[in-house]
């Protein structure tokens, strides 16, 4: 590749990234914040309204991304879109993964790093949305307790809890150690476990790189690769066993 071509690629990456970040900032402030504010005061079910707003906001982000990056394709399996009342566990490749899943599921909860709950406004949105802090001490403990107290009802009413059990992004695509939180919650709620595999979000937004990769052909996929319907009365539904079953699904 010539120096000029490299330069032009970089310029395109930078401009596209700026336009995407513009959506994040101004899209949020101009188009979505009025709805968040209205729902704060007038919604009968704030949590559900906030989750729906998060869903539409991130859906808008991916529509915008596909418009700006014509060679980007996003393929979501039909049987992924119809998942309800489940604990979803998923591999983790990029910061885009959580927002991609929010853009797929309108009624969603997830586990978020505790530090984000302390960010002004954003932390409030996370709390009202019913999201769970990854670790709860001090003030965050009441958020965790509230969220867990209503988790069974949330899942029974069709909501999905999605979790990245590795906790951190995989740099080389290999599967890391699992945290047991998702499996503990699945047991607590006696929920089905759906195993999703995300592909190539790290091609669009690579870990350690600030700019989106905008000129190559990228095909992001989200596939349902397994379902576990545990018999929670049997010994085979221990957290360790559930973790082992999910790992086997990923490795096969």
């Amino acid at each position: 590749m010539t120096v000029l071509a490299k330069f032009l690629r970089s310029v395109n990456d930078i401009l596209t990234t700026l336009l995407l970040w513009t959506y994040f900032l101004f899209g949020y402030i101009i188009f979505f914040s009025p709805f968040y504010i209205l729902n704060t005061f007038f919604s009968k079910n704030q949590e559900r309204s906030f989750q729906a707003l998060n869903h539409f906001f991130y859906k808008g982000f991916f529509l915008w991304a596909r418009f700006l990056i014509p060679r980007l394709k996003i393929k979501i399996q039909d049987n992924v879109r119809t998942i309800r009342s489940s604990v979803i566990v998923c591999n983790h490749l990029s910061y885009l993964d959580p927002i991609l899943l929010i853009s797929i599921f309108k009624k969603q909860r997830t586990i978020v790093k505790s530090i984000f709950f302390n960010v002004p406004i954003f932390g409030n949105v996370l709390t009202i949305s019913g999201y769970i802090p990854s670790d709860a001490s001090g003030d965050l403990s009441s958020i965790l307790i509230d969220s867990m107290d209503t988790m069974k009802e949330f899942i029974a009413s069709g909501g999905n809890l999605f979790v990245f059990p590795e906790g951190t992004r995989s740099r080389d695509g290999s599967l890391g150690e699992f945290s047991k939180g998702a499996f503990r919650i699945a047991r607590h709620c006696k929920a089905s476990i759906k195993v999703l595999q995300i592909k190539d979000t790290n091609q669009l937004f690579q870990p350690g790189r600030f700019f989106f990769h905008t000129l190559d052909k990228i095909r992001i996929e989200v596939n349902l690769i397994g379902t576990i319907e545990p018999d929670y009365k049997s010994t085979d539904s221990s957290v360790t066993s559930l973790m082992r079953q999910v790992r086997t699904i990923f490795e096969n």
Partner: protein
């Protein structure tokens, strides 16, 4: 409720629900077994079943600061006495 009864039941919960065998009384459960906040919530649900009443938010928040098995015994004993 007798302290011994509480200890026996809590140990059974640790065995059945958390796959932790006979933890020492003063060991930090998080460091030794990765016992985290979500585990603590699950334990509280089991304690509610054991005691036969629901805990208040303040009682639950208090539990989130607990780190050893000995503290759990004290906590459950206090709860039991508070409702007698």
């Amino acid at each position: 409720m007798e302290r011994k009864e509480i200890e026996k039941h809590i140990l059974r919960i640790f065995h059945d629900e958390f796959e932790i065998e006979n933890p020492e009384n003063d060991i930090d459960l998080r460091e030794a077994y990765g016992f985290d906040s979500i585990d603590a919530i699950e334990l509280l649900a089991e304690i509610e079943v054991f005691l036969g009443f629901e805990l208040t938010l303040d009682e639950k928040k208090q539990a989130m600061e607990i780190s050893t098995l000995g503290q759990i015994y004290d906590y459950v004993e206090n709860l039991s006495n508070s409702r007698d």
